[in-house]
């Protein structure tokens, strides 16, 4: 197809540097497929920025546990004015309830739709997950016997550790790294439009071989020469100049002796060209008909849904997407502050599910959440402070749902799964285990998983089982 050829040409010319040294070099190697398969699969990672207080989302529903929470969070629960009370929660009835004895759980009522998806087996919770270098507890940690992740409790560093397994400054996220292994094993895969952000350009998708594309929320009329065409082409006059301008904007001029100038030239040319390519493809297929909430995250999830909707025309069988939502750094006013961002994220996910059902891809997509960190179990009056481990949600037609994976720990600040200062949850499941489970489903073999997640071997289970892999 000419579309393909044009993109290949672009990658080799305008994209220049990385095109020549990275992906294209690998394309000629014709390595075997490994088990990446030929059916379409996509991952959608959603970063909840600021550190979501999942203790305020996944709630204790039995009276004893709820009383324990109330004793620790008087001001916060007063602020919620009853909305977190067991009777008002959206009940969860997990298949593996026995694991938790008499304890029961529910979700914050503003995301009751998630409880429905949980009940229908399309969602699961992974409890007490977070960055770890090895398993630890309060005693080992305080005695200095454990290796700990660098810069714990720092927003940017823990967010980076969630996405790229190390503090800020990493240049490769595990999403991008997974795509690198796919590209290296699939001679037909093409590095453009494989890693797509609908939100910010965070490190999750960054890698050696791919260029992160930013999916526009409104792909209609994606033209940088819209305006000049209108101006220059009256009666055909100026058509040639317009074409030259267009070529100029999409061509990288790399003659500068300055390294940053060359990077910007490449980035601009590549960005404008890929934006146009995307717009062309999009115009030939059109959007999903599912309506999305008119929120920032709603528009992002719509952009991702539309990208998946045109997967046939784009032609890549593996794609990884990224979206993000801020507003979770609830140091104060948490009761009023958390409801909006929380419901916006999960409402957008519910719409996304409808769109995936519409386009026939729900079984081929996994949506999962990440967040900087959890928050202190003890409050600061009307909010909570930076913590560590937390709970995350996974969604998709392939999720083995209606289950809680990992652990939902007892809310006792004196237990050894909390730090002694401010009761910050010490995770019992590592980010690597969460990522490995997702990566295995995506088609990475054990070798590729170890390449992407070199610390995985320090933890017991290589697969948590929430995507149907053998829970070992």
């Amino acid at each position: 197809m000419s579309f393909y050829n044009r993109r290949r040409f672009l990658q080799a010319s305008a994209a220049g540097f990385m095109g020549a040294t990275g992906a294209l070099a690998g394309l000629g190697q014709h390595r075997a497929y490994a088990n990446t398969g030929t059916g379409y699969k996509a991952l959608v990672g959603i970063m909840l920025k600021g550190g979501t207080d999942m203790f305020d989302v996944v709630l204790p529903r039995d009276q004893e546990s709820f009383s324990a929470l109330t004793a620790l969070r008087t001001g916060l629960l007063n602020g919620h004015d009853g909305s977190r009370d067991p009777d008002n929660q959206a009940a969860l009835n997990p298949i593996n309830a026995d694991q938790f004895g008499t304890r029961r759980f529910g979700l914050a009522p503003e995301i009751s739709g998630v409880a429905d998806l949980f009940g229908s087996g399309e969602a699961a919770i992974v409890g007490s997950v977070g960055p770890l270098l090895e398993n630890t507890n309060r005693e080992d940690m305080e005695a200095g016997r454990s290796a700990l992740p660098a810069n714990l409790f720092s927003h940017n560093d823990q967010r980076s550790t969630w996405m790229a397994l190390g503090p800020e400054g990493r240049r490769r996220g595990w999403g991008g790294a997974m795509m690198d292994t796919v590209l290296s094993q699939s001679p037909q895969a093409y590095p453009q439009f494989t890693t797509i952000t609908a939100g910010s350009g965070d490190v999750f998708l960054a890698s050696e071989d791919t260029r992160i594309f930013k999916a526009p929320r409104d792909p209609d009329g994606l033209s940088v020469d819209m305006v000049s065409r209108q101006w220059l082409t009256s009666g055909g006059h100026g058509e040639e100049a317009r074409a030259l301008l267009d070529t100029y904007l999409r061509g990288a001029r790399l003659g500068s002796q300055n390294i940053f100038a060359r990077d910007i030239a490449r980035s601009q040319a590549n960005g404008l060209q890929s934006m146009r390519d995307y717009g062309d493809v999009f115009a030939s297929v059109g959007p999903v008909s599912t309506e999305f909430p008119d929120t920032r995250i709603g528009r992002q999830m719509a952009a991702i849904a539309n990208s998946i909707h045109i997967r046939g025309a784009i032609g890549n069988t593996r794609q990884i997407f990224y979206a993000d939502q801020g507003g979770f750094d609830t140091h104060d006013g948490q009761a009023e502050g958390i409801v909006g961002p929380l419901s916006q994220v999960f409402d957008a996910i519910l719409a996304f599910r409808a769109a995936m059902v519409e386009t026939g891809a729900w079984d081929d997509v996994v949506v999962f959440t990440m967040s900087d960190f959890g928050r202190t179990l003890t409050e600061n009056g009307d909010g909570t402070d930076h913590g560590w481990g937390s709970h995350q949600f996974v969604f998709g037609g392939s999720v083995v749902g209606n289950r809680i994976y990992g652990d939902l720990p007892i809310l006792d600040p004196d237990a050894s799964h909390f730090t002694s200062s401010r009761a910050r949850l010490i995770p019992s499941t590592a980010v690597e285990q969460y990522a490995a489970t997702i990566g295995s489903w995506f088609g990475l073999d054990a070798g590729a998983i170890d390449q992407v997640l070199p610390n995985l071997g320090r933890f017991d289970a290589r697969d948590l089982g929430f995507l149907g892999g053998a829970a070992v």
Binding site: T74, L244, R253, D332
Partner: protein
Amino acid sequence: MRSLLLISAASAVLLVGCGGGGGGSGGSAGLTPPVTVSPPPPPAPPAATQLETKAEAADFLMTAGFAATDAEVNGTTGADAAAWVRTQLNAPPQSYLVTLGARFTEEEAKSRDNTALIWQQMIASDAQLRNRMTYALSQLFVINDRDNSTNGYALAAWMDILDRNAFGNYRDLMGDVTRSPMMGRFLTYIYNQKGNDKTGRKPDENYAREILQLFSIGLVELNNDGTVKLEGGEPVETFDNEDIVGLARVFTGYAPAGTSYKYRDRYDDWLRRPMIMWDEYHSELEKSFLGTTIPANTGGEESIDLALDAIFAHPNVPPFVARQLIQRFTASHPSPAYVERVATVFENGRFTAPDGSTFGTGQRGDLSATLAAIILDEAIHDDVKEPWEGKVREPVLKLVQFTRTYATDSSKALLTGKWNSLSDTSDPIKALGQAPLKSPSVFNFYRPGYIAPSTESGEAGYTAPELQIVNASSAFGYVNFMTNFIARFDDHWSGILVPDYTEEFLLADRPEDMINQIDLKLLSGRMSAETRAAILETVEALPLRDNTTENNERDRLSRVFLAMLMTVTSPEYAVLD
């Protein structure tokens, strides 16, 4: 469209520039030789900071300020850059609150998004260095005014804090920032109370963490050249969570200025006053952090001062601040030697420029000396251009330069409601992906340690914070935004920052001269051969019709627009090296 033609064709204003503000009136003082000379020396070679040519002068003005008008270039050519710096350091703060009060009624001012005030200062003020520094500080002490936009005074009061301390002392700035209700609100320590065992309440840790991590020392110990100190091959963290728990107790007890602690008793103008400390809500416990202990029962204000003194005394502060300020002015990836030179000046509070003149009070944290050391550094002014030198300019600077250069003075001065078109330009696909005080979080739009993946600079390990907001959509947004801003194809910009392209318009039948003119004004003559060739080819591909005056004018303008758009999207406009 019609009005634009009239303006361009008829304007006799041409470029009168900004008056005398940039003039090098202090030039002679800067050239005074050192006093210790006894035998008559051979004439000393000019200092590296001597601005020998117009191009050098323009380059310097674009680096230290926002742009260079003809008048400013003429006023500085032949003088030492130090003289310009000295003149600029004398520019007094111009209060944003006063400007706001003079322009709008109390009710109007309260209900507006006043970001336009910041744009106007950057675009119109002669005090380029002060405004550039204020803008730089707003990217270090970050608040966003999204939460504050319900009261336009918040933004003005905040900018006044940065502005009046821009040439002052860093420790004073830390104090003013800490007591600011805008920061108190943004980092949630306004109404932060001491702990209460009965309710389980503990002090909010937000500000304690961020003042250390982002505003003063960072997370790991640094050498004086800004590189990370290693022990046994590992970085050493500057603080742990116990430090945060201890320091969080310090930032308790603040409430809005008012007659009591209660919100309902706040003064109407509380956003324009420092917060007030109420000791009954301030933690009376011992406060231990960074090896300092404030004894139990120390009062609130005293605790604040002791804590800020202790933080300010940390050896990380000079390299931490120096490196970030350098990145805002001259170098995205400053060399360790450069950082060390500036950090040493920050430490000593005094800078001796290459021409022998000195800057600063001698007090640690002197920002005028620090700033002079950054922009008068010899390595910045030498003739050697290393491939990793130079600063990637963020979109705000690119827009301000263009507007300072081409908007008429009268339209810059007239702050109308239409300026609200410039309130928030942070949408990446429709605008610039950046705007003053609109960062999504306290981490700014980009991080000082950012190294871009999948790039040549990233491969080499060079930091380039500004590349964090360069991507497919921002490239797209920038091109479309600038097209519209330059050519005014729709009404969005009508009536504000009216451009005057008269000179270029008149040269449009001589494309090479027109391109030279634009090159001089926007690139100080740095346009590359390949950019020039591309612009020339494109411009010449648009024939000038002469069948009607209107067609001829239209084609001339089209040529101007094409050449300008191609210039502001060139790599050399993006990087000042």
